[in-house]
Symmetry: C2
Subunit: 240 residues, 2 copies
Amino acid sequence: MASNAMFAEVAALAGDPARAGMLQALMDGRALTASELARIAGITPQTASGHLARLTTAGLLAVEQQGRHRYHRLASPAVAQMMESIMLVASPPEPARRKFTIGPRDAALRAARTCYDHLAGRLGVALADALVAGGQVELAKDGGLMTDAGVALLRQLGIDVDPMVRRSTSARGRVLCRPCLDWSERRPHLAGAVGAALCSLSLANGWIRRIDGTRAVAVTPKGERSYRELFGICGGEVAH
Amino acid sequence: MASNAMFAEVAALAGDPARAGMLQALMDGRALTASELARIAGITPQTASGHLARLTTAGLLAVEQQGRHRYHRLASPAVAQMMESIMLVASPPEPARRKFTIGPRDAALRAARTCYDHLAGRLGVALADALVAGGQVELAKDGGLMTDAGVALLRQLGIDVDPMVRRSTSARGRVLCRPCLDWSERRPHLAGAVGAALCSLSLANGWIRRIDGTRAVAVTPKGERSYRELFGICGGEVAH
DNA sequence: CAGATATTTCGGCCATTGCCGAAGCGTCTC
DNA sequence: GAGACGCTTCGGCAATGGCCGAAATATCTG
């Protein structure tokens, strides 16, 4: 069966430590150069070049040439979702996790990070919890739904909800969102169009800023204030 | 970063052709013995034993001992979702796919198969299309919603919808479902609790039956009649 | 045009690991 | 209890593939 060989090839590509590191670094949705990815993965540029070529021809990455730089990014949201689902399976169960949670970089990732186009980590989960507690969002295992109050909040924040609104038959006016099981918190955060909108809004408003070359983000003082006022999230909840 | 090593380990486990074959064979949610899996993967039992041990200690598989047989199954729905998301990335784009679509086994899988706990392939997509066309379901990229007519249909079919119904605030009475991008059709089919209920109902009513040791299913004459009468799906649509 | 930087190609070394044959250990059956 | 069957462990072979150094190519800068 040909699809089996293709499956194994894709999984094996993601299964090398160096390539896995590069793919994870690209999980924030941005495009990085080969040299940056080589440094992140801890290998020499020539080795990285080979890896990146294989990832690109397999359709996992897309490249964009700008002068002497070649910017690599994940080829599609499907790749990002694959990465997230592997992370979920790979994240060890609670008891065994304590001894792994040590490095400062790991701690920053667990506190707040971007998950391709939306927020994850303690911040992402706290945001989802706050919206559920406030009656703006309903999250189930199979899906999520913005309430009228939730849609009103999005409008108040200046988010254009029109493209998200269902207009047909009985679900008129409803906005659907997607729950995404957080691999570090093991509880759902908000994904989909609504999650992406909240994430880009947070970045645009300076509530969060990206940390160096990882996909971790830091909550700014301004962000702490806004999150507290708008959603009732207390800073300590996220800062740990 | 420890999570990186765990990630690569999981992906590498799925990235071996023999192990990938075994994992795919388990995608129908049933439990198989080591010998069966060895035969499916085309390797000797002692080699399979080693693979299965590694998959189990990594948390991808769960084993259940019954006498001298050891039944292996996917450890969790999260593993099934990981497999599905890898398949989606691994499925080649439309133009390049033609030359791979040859084997009869492959053809059967593309016609109708189970995807862990729900239906996929042309049958699964046709079912979703029919429900959307009939106004019983609304599917968006981020989620799906049963309409009143859809809930009524589920009740008529004898499906207990009570555990699925949202009871809080503004979404009172709504039933959420999950769209799942079909890796062979590249269009969404129905997953989540609703999809699982329809699949188990189809099996229980004899509308479909499993084919040998794969996760492909065949639509029975009775099934063709039922699908046509209940959902308006014409048999040729699925049989190709 | 010369030097610096980013990236790729080539060649060879070495570790990992998938594979099977042989043998050992439980479990079921007669 | 003897034999059959399912599964696992052990040992050794062979191939895959990741890695780097050296060198070539392309682009930008002065």
